[in-house]
Symmetry: C2
Subunit: 313 residues, 2 copies
């Protein structure tokens, strides 16, 4: 019997869980704030130490991380809001500290892996996972394997160019899906329309959020509904592209914005049907909500831990 | 010792080659016109019969086919210009006829596989292959495996939406890369500009081809150069998207149009550098011309034949 330690580094908290091999319910879970005294790495190490099993061998440590990273070398290139994690070899550092193999993965990629193995994507071999919240991220499972690319930078689904010369994206480019359809883009559009004189129950709010837009839509606010429809239409157009590129058998939506329900998803489906080049792509295609919620990253880290390591080339 | 029979079904001819396992030079090659007396299937079978080895066991027959198909079931959905090949179970029919396993693959996908195994992509694990001629097709190798998707319809790189409300594509959608940058799109743009009064050495030609545009560009014709630059810019924009989606370590260009040289490729590289979201995608990225020429489909069929079959799930 061995154990896998899975860690999820979020914007506000770090969570660590120890799983007995074969179990999907953790033996222990502990959490600590991402920011606080000492470095994030030291706080993570203390957390791992606190759940380290006394009498069972730890097989692997797996960490789900925000931001771009190289899963092969274990180096994170940058992590938003975590000072000192620029080109930080977190995998090798953990191995040095704890003496067991350590693996890292992008949190959206690992959430895709988690949903495939333990969540909404079970039984599918080709999965597209999209998480829509303050950004748009995701992951692709192709033939039961995570699509990583040569530096682990594949499946950056939020950075699909959708609208030439469109709004500026967080990455600096223009017209990316994330800049058109993530939560802040939905809120910004509603706010712009209000500034242009469109009537809405949302008028007068200082700093609008996508959640507020979603709530107003549920109460029948026309501008709120239109703001979600607009985002959904862009997501549907993008989905047609993703189908042409990855041909999944299931599309899984995660992230807060996807809970806007039919106001977002109906336009997604309409735009997808309009823009897909061939009906074969829609044959048996399942569109589903994520099943793992906030645990997707942690469960994805476990899923990665359970996969055999690639033989060295 | 066993043999693999590789077949490439082209628009004008069918080629069949018998390879001894371990050899990349065929023992025999035969060809027949795609259209002629009898059905294409019967002509293909006669061709296979003509190269069937007398004293060596045939391990597998592999066919590279134009048009969408399902590599798992061996069914081709439709083949341009080949009557009777709508939902035709070519794989099972070949197995019935010859009593050995038969596999089929999309010709652009197999060309990608051929370039990876025997051509410009040797040594790479993540390959993007683009063929630009009368259409734009391609294939993706990810982690040493062909990206197929759930119905074998992945990597339809020509059908990336690039320009909303752009020109109509062969598939019926608008603004796809193929409709903007394949050979006919290049020729059509030059012709439109001439009709608008732009001076060019190409003026007066009835039916312009991309080859003529390319030749005129080499002689310094400004409109011809601009027509190729325009296509190259769209290809470069698309390439940025493909990098974000697949993160290859090499991009291989095949097809007649890619021989337009720097007039096409310089704008491709400029647009790619402008539109890529992060320089990490360009790190160690190789951009190369295809090495196998017209043999890419045949060599890809051989490459597929050499890969172990997946165990049944």
């Amino acid at each position: 019997m061995t154990m896998i330690i899975a860690i999820d580094i979020g914007g506000t908290q770090i969570r660590a869980a120890a799983f007995r091999r074969g179990n999907t319910t953790p033996e222990t879970v502990q959490r600590t704030p991402t920011r606080g005294e000492g470095t994030a790495f030291e706080r993570m190490c203390a957390l791992i130490q606190s759940i380290w099993p006394e009498d069972i061998k730890v097989e692997k440590i797996v960490v789900a991380l925000p931001g771009p990273l190289n899963p092969e070398t274990g180096v994170i290139f940058s992590a938003p809001n975590i000072p000192g994690w620029e080109n930080f070899p977190i995998g090798p550092e953990l191995e040095k500290r704890f003496g067991v193999p350590a693996r890292i993965g992008n949190d959206a990629n690992l959430a895709a892996l988690g949903e495939w193995r333990f969540g909404a994507g079970q039984g599918h071999h080709h999965v597209l996972y999209l998480t829509i919240s303050t950004g748009i991220g995701g992951g692709v499972i192709s033939d039961d394997r995570l699509l990583l690319g040569s530096h682990g930078l594949a499946a950056e689904v939020g950075h699909l160019a959708v609208l030439p010369d469109g709004p500026v994206c967080g990455c600096g480019q223009r017209g990316h899906l994330e800049a058109l359809a993530a939560g802040p883009a939905i809120a910004r559009y509603a706010q712009e329309q209000i500034a242009l004189g469109v009537k809405s129950s949302l008028a007068g709010k200082k700093k609008l959020t996508a959640r507020e837009v979603s709530e107003a839509a549920a109460l029948g606010d026309a501008l709120a509904i239109q703001s979600l429809e607009r985002a959904g239409t862009y997501i549907g157009q993008a989905l047609a592209v993703f189908l042409h590129m990855f041909n999944p058998s299931i599309v899984i939506f995660g992230g807060g914005v996807s809970f806007s329900g039919k106001f977002l998803l109906d336009p997604v489906k309409q735009a997808l049907e309009k823009h897909v080049m061939d009906q074969s792509y829609l044959k048996n295609l399942v569109i589903a909500n994520a099943a793992l919620g906030d645990d997707a990253g942690l469960m994805g880290a476990l899923a990665l831990g359970l996969m055999p390591d690639k033989p060295d080339n």
